[in-house]
Structure formats: structure tokens, C-alpha cells
Amino acid sequence: MSRTLLLGAVSLLALGTYAQAETTLTIATVNNGDMIRMQKLTDDFTKNNPDIKLDWVTLEENVLRQRVTTDIATKGGQYDVLTIGNYEVPIWAKQGWLAPLEGMPEGYDAGDLLPAIANGLSVDGKLYAAPFYGESAMVMYRTDLAEKAGVTIPDTPNWGQIEEAAAKMTDKDNEVYGICLRGKAGWGENMAFLTAMAHSMDARWFDMDWKPQFDSPEWKETLTKYLDMMNKYGPPGASSNGFNENLSLFQQGKCGMWIDATVAASFVTDPKESTVADKVGYAQFPNKAGKEGRGEWLWSWNLAIPAGSNKVDAAKKFVAWATSKDYTKLVAEKEGWRAAPPGTRTSLYDNADYKAAAPFAEKTIKAINGVDLAHPTSQEVPYIGSQWVAIPEFQGIGTAVGQQFSAALAGQTSADQALQNAQQLTNREMQKAGYPK
């Protein structure tokens, strides 16, 4: 018996590798609607480039981040095209991990990319990643509930107006909660929202000497207001709600308002999945009464090429195809303008067909254009950022601080204690990392 097993094992082991086409590009990507659509449309690319074969590796965002970081830091060379966020691009470019996107094929028109997005992807004037789609944040609210409660939400609301509207729309007996916000701990979950909110309330993560600012009155005001609104008008168990949980609550008609990424608009207005598809209104991200700043939020998924790849030319061809104006047109032809990848090109927002098909286009472009990554808040900051801070330590610190704030929302600690802990742990991590640099 063991001889058969041995033979079996050897023959199994022998089934090693696959035959390679002329150039095979391995593309690492995330499981988002726009990316999946791109995979379906790649025939258009391979038809014109028969010598390039595409292999897709689709992973959950956090798995992908870990996987791709390991590979690029060790120069493992497993991927030829990477899908990465605008948080990583400047950090990785400075490490010399990414190939600059110079000499893109003719007709790419890099000048058409939205300046706010392109700036975030450039280091020393060189573009290191091509944006595939971009998003900001806004208020989504139920027009029918607002009417019933007799409140109007202005186009440019402040936090006071939001709180008031939340109070009026809340009807806990019928499981309607005035406001749904992220509470699940994580640098990309509750801290994305809270960083944007804090920036809009004049708070900042660090002063010019990289000293954490959680002991400032601005942070206290931010956290107190957030906890207040959520405790009074939020859904139960909000400390474990992230984007998806809030999306599902909103789609089932349980939220009066939801402040989150603009990409959510296309989900909540999808009649196949949302019970409130025709009752959604939009407003800009709130500010502090009488202040300019609107809590910047800017995220884009981008395609980048690892430095030292020996397939840079083929990879550039693919990146150019996927982020071109022609690709947008291709999507519009096949699936309608509503499905076009948003938030990357000026030309899309000049297009009347798109504006007619996507009622949230106007708010999205306004929010994105309003972003200035070097000045995310009214105070001076030493960092680049929006709902994140562009330092490598932010993932770790952001998640640890997020746990403190999530605990405060769950009622396990007080706001003061959470801020004090956040201050301490951030201070410790920043000193360990050797700031100021």
C-alpha cells in the first residue's frame, strides 16, 4: 500500500508548472465591482495585444495588501501589475518599489487626470500609479424620512444641522436610526471616518514637531460629538459596524443618514439590492459651522508596476488601457454610463451622458476637487493625508487608536480615557519610529 502511495505522491509532485505564453502578466487586484467588470472586459485588450496573456489574482483588500507588501518588499517578483491605494503609492514610490509611469502610450492624456488624484500619486513630479477609480465621502440621506420629520438637509450642512436632523429622523420604535456611522475598529474603517471628521473640526493628528494631538480640545470635541450622536441616534451595536454593515442597514431602510464613501451611492441606488433606491438624497461632507474645511476624504484604487519587473513595457500597455478614456467609453457602451469608473478623469465629468446617468456625479467631483492633501485641516500639519495620514506607521497606529475609539463607542471606556490612551500609544509608536524625521 505504501508503495502505491509513494508513487502517487511522486506523480502528484511532478505536476509542477504550467506552460507560459509569450508574456504573461500577473495582475493582483481587489474584489470590487469596478475591478470585476474590468476582468470581464479584457478581451478588448487581448484582442489588440495577442502576445500578452493576463492572469488575475483577486483577493480581499487586507489579504491583498499583506500579500503584495511582502512580495514587493522582498522583490519576490510574483506580480507584474499591482492594485494599490493612494495611501501606499507615495510611501512605496519613496522606497523605490514602484516603476515611474513615464512614456505611457500615445493618447493616454495624463493631463486629463483629476489634479487632486494625480498629485497624490506623484512623487517629485513623476506619476507612479495610474488611477482606476477614485472616491470621496458625502452624506446620503433618506428624502422620505427627512420630509416626514420636517427637516431639510442643506447641500452644505454643518455638524450641528446633521445632529439636529438625526434627532428628528430617529424613530427607534420602528427601528429607524437617525444616523449610521462607522464604528468598527481599523485604520480603514472607523478611523477613516473619524480622521475626516476631526480634520473638518480643525483637529489634526500631529503638530509640526510630529507630536500627537489627541490631548487637544479639537479632538475632544470631535470624539464627544461623534459618541453623542451615535449613542442617541445611532443603531445598536454600532461599534462593530463598518462600511458593509452600514450599507446593509441603509439599504433596508434603517438609517436616516449615512456619511461614507461616495462609492456607496451606486449601491444604495441599485433597485435590485436596495429597498430605498429611489429615496436617497445627497449632501456634502459636513463642516464646523462657519468654517471652510469639509473633512477631506480621498481614496483611489490605482494600478502600479513594481520596480525591477522585466515586463514593464507590457505592463504599461495594460495599465494605460485600463485607465484610459477609451476604457471608460467601452464600459459605457457595454453597461451604460452609470457603471463608468468614477473619480479619475476630468473628461468624464464634462460628459453630459454621464451626468444624466449618475445623479451623484456632481457631489463626487465637488468633493474630490475640494481635496488638498497637503492641507487636510485648517491647522498646519507636517503630513500629507485626508482620511488617512501618509506615513508607513499609520496602519498600525490608526488601528490601535481605532480600537480605543471603538471601545468608547461600546461604552467600555470614557471619551477622555480613550483619548488619553490614544495619545499615549501614538506617542510611544512615533518615538519608536524615530520621529521627528
Binding site: 505522491a9 509532485l13 504550467y18 470590487n32 489574482v57 483577486t58
Partner: protein
């Protein structure tokens, strides 16, 4: 003689056993049910248990989007390959520990187990670099090697326990009859330990099938098994529960069926030696 058990006691225990069994199986059942819902129904609250519009849409989508059979085949090769390779190394090792223990055998066994105490992520970068230089990244061979190393301590420990139950005198008798070491292990020890070896094999196939750290971190497009297939259907932004459930159901179905058919061996092997 077996003790007489009253009917009432029997019923009570049966009911308790069923309740516990259903509670343990419920998450899997829920996954399977969700895979037949639409995304909208998958998140509906209160959720519907059986009365919803059953649909195969998710399975169609998953089939269209992913190459299930490539991932399936990778899983089969990796889990069987690593288990069989592990057994080939572990049977002689366990033999020597069980029948000719030395002064340090106990320490060696403990040391082997201690390698399981380190979180795998602690050695990710060194292993990644070794694999890169050896050209083993994204190959099934590489995964077979690393999963063998991962599971070897468990295999040796399980076999060692089974072998200890076998009287050494039988092996001695074989030796008296002129059996060499090879014959002794292949013709005498192995047949006597078949239930133990079978359950070790099954348990390790299951462990390797479900292993989701190395299989995700050392693969890209070619060698990715079903764990990567599942991971490609999860997302922090967007609704995916129904499709994720369909992918999970497809990924666990083979191992569930294998477990179902071999449960007799599994139970027999796991309780082997429990009653003398």
C-alpha cells in the same frame, strides 16, 4: 456487560447530542443556505430561513469568474502531497521513538511540538526569501514542502501514540523470524497500525485543505488552492455575502463529502487504543 440505560435517559442524551450537533453544524448550514439567496436576501433582517426565492445565480457567477477546477486540483495536490510526504517521513520516525526510545526521545517530541508554538507569520519573510531564491514561489511543490513541515509534528505525535499501543513483542517475534527493518515496518507494523495511519492521513488532509496562511501568502496565479478562491470573494466595500457563501460551499464540499464517507475510519482511528 453493558449497563442498562433507561429509555428516558436515552432520549435525553439523544436530544442533547442532536442539539449540540446542530449548533455546531449550523454556521455551515447557514453558509449553504445563503449561497442560494440573492445578495439582497442574504443581508435581509430578519433573515428568511427556507422561504426565499432559491437561485443558482451565485454559482453561475462564481463559475464564470473563477477557474474552480484549477484551484480544486491545486488543493487536492497540495493536501494529499503534503500528507503523504509527511507520512513517509513520520512512520520511520514514530517507529524509532515508540520502539527504540533513547534518553532524549521525550525531549525531541516536545521540541517538535514546540515548533508549532511560533506564529507562522514570524517566519514569513525568511521563508519567502528562501522560496524566492529557490524558485518555489507560486508552485505546488513549494506548498507541499511547507505544509509537510507544518503538519509533521502532528503526524509524528499521532503515529507515535498509535504505535505505542502495539505490543513490541510482535515486532520482536518478526525479527526472530528473520524480518529486516524494512519488512518489519512495511509488513508487520504498518498493517497493524492501519486505522491509526488512516485517521492521521484523513486529519492531515483536512488540516492541509483548510490551511489559509501559507497557501495565501506563497501563491499567486498558478498554485493558488481553494483558500485563495474563497478569499477572492470577500470585500470590505460592497455586498458579497451570497457569492462568498457559494464559493465557500464549493470549497468545502469535497472535504465534507470525504469526511462523511470516512467518518467510521476517522472515529475508529481517533479512539484507537482508548479502550484496552
Amino acid at each position: 456487560m453493558a449497563r442498562a440505560v433507561s429509555t428516558r435517559r436515552k432520549i435525553t442524551f439523544t436530544v442533547i447530542a442532536w442539539v449540540i450537533g446542530i449548533a455546531i453544524f449550523f454556521p455551515i448550514l447557514w453558509t449553504i443556505l445563503t449561497s442560494f439567496k440573492t445578495e439582497g436576501e442574504a443581508i435581509a433582517s430578519p433573515p428568511s430561513f427556507l422561504f426565499f426565492d432559491w437561485t443558482l445565480e451565485n454559482y453561475t457567477t462564481v463559475q464564470e469568474r473563477s477557474n474552480y477546477f484549477l484551484h480544486f486540483w491545486n488543493s487536492v495536490v497540495i493536501s494529499l502531497g503534503s500528507t503523504v510526504l509527511g507520512l513517509i517521513i513520520a512512520i520511520p520516525a514514530a517507529w524509532s521513538m515508540a520502539f527504540v526510545p533513547g534518553k532524549r526521545t521525550k525531549d525531541v517530541l516536545m521540541w517538535m511540538l514546540s515548533t508549532k508554538m511560533l506564529p507562522p507569520v514570524g517566519v514569513l519573510i525568511p521563508i519567502y526569501l528562501l522560496f524566492r531564491d529557490a524558485g518555489l514561489l507560486d508552485t505546488r511543490t513549494g506548498l507541499v514542502v511547507v505544509l509537510t513541515l507544518m503538519n509533521l509534528p502532528i503526524i509524528v505525535w499521532m503515529l507515535y501514540t498509535y504505535f505505542r499501543e502495539i505490543p513490541g513483542e510482535i515486532l520482536e517475534a518478526a525479527r526472530m523470524d528473520g524480518a529486516g527493518l524494512r519488512e518489519e515496518i512495511i509488513y508487520i507494523l504498518t498493517p497493524m497500525a492501519v486505522p491509526g495511519i488512516a485517521s492521521t492521513l484523513l486529519l492531515n488532509v483536512i488540516l492541509a485543505w483548510n490551511e489559509a496562511f501559507w497557501t495565501l501568502n506563497l501563491t499567486a496565479a498558478n498554485a493558488a488552492p481553494l483558500t485563495a478562491f474563497i478569499a477572492s470573494y470577500s470585500s470590505p466595500e460592497g455586498l458579497f455575502y451570497a457569492k462568498l457563501s457559494a464559493a465557500s460551499t464549493m470549497a468545502i464540499a469535497p472535504i465534507l463529502i470525504l469526511g462523511w464517507f470516512s467518518q467510521k475510519q476517522l472515529v475508529r482511528g481517533l479512539t484507537f487504543g482508548a479502550v484496552k
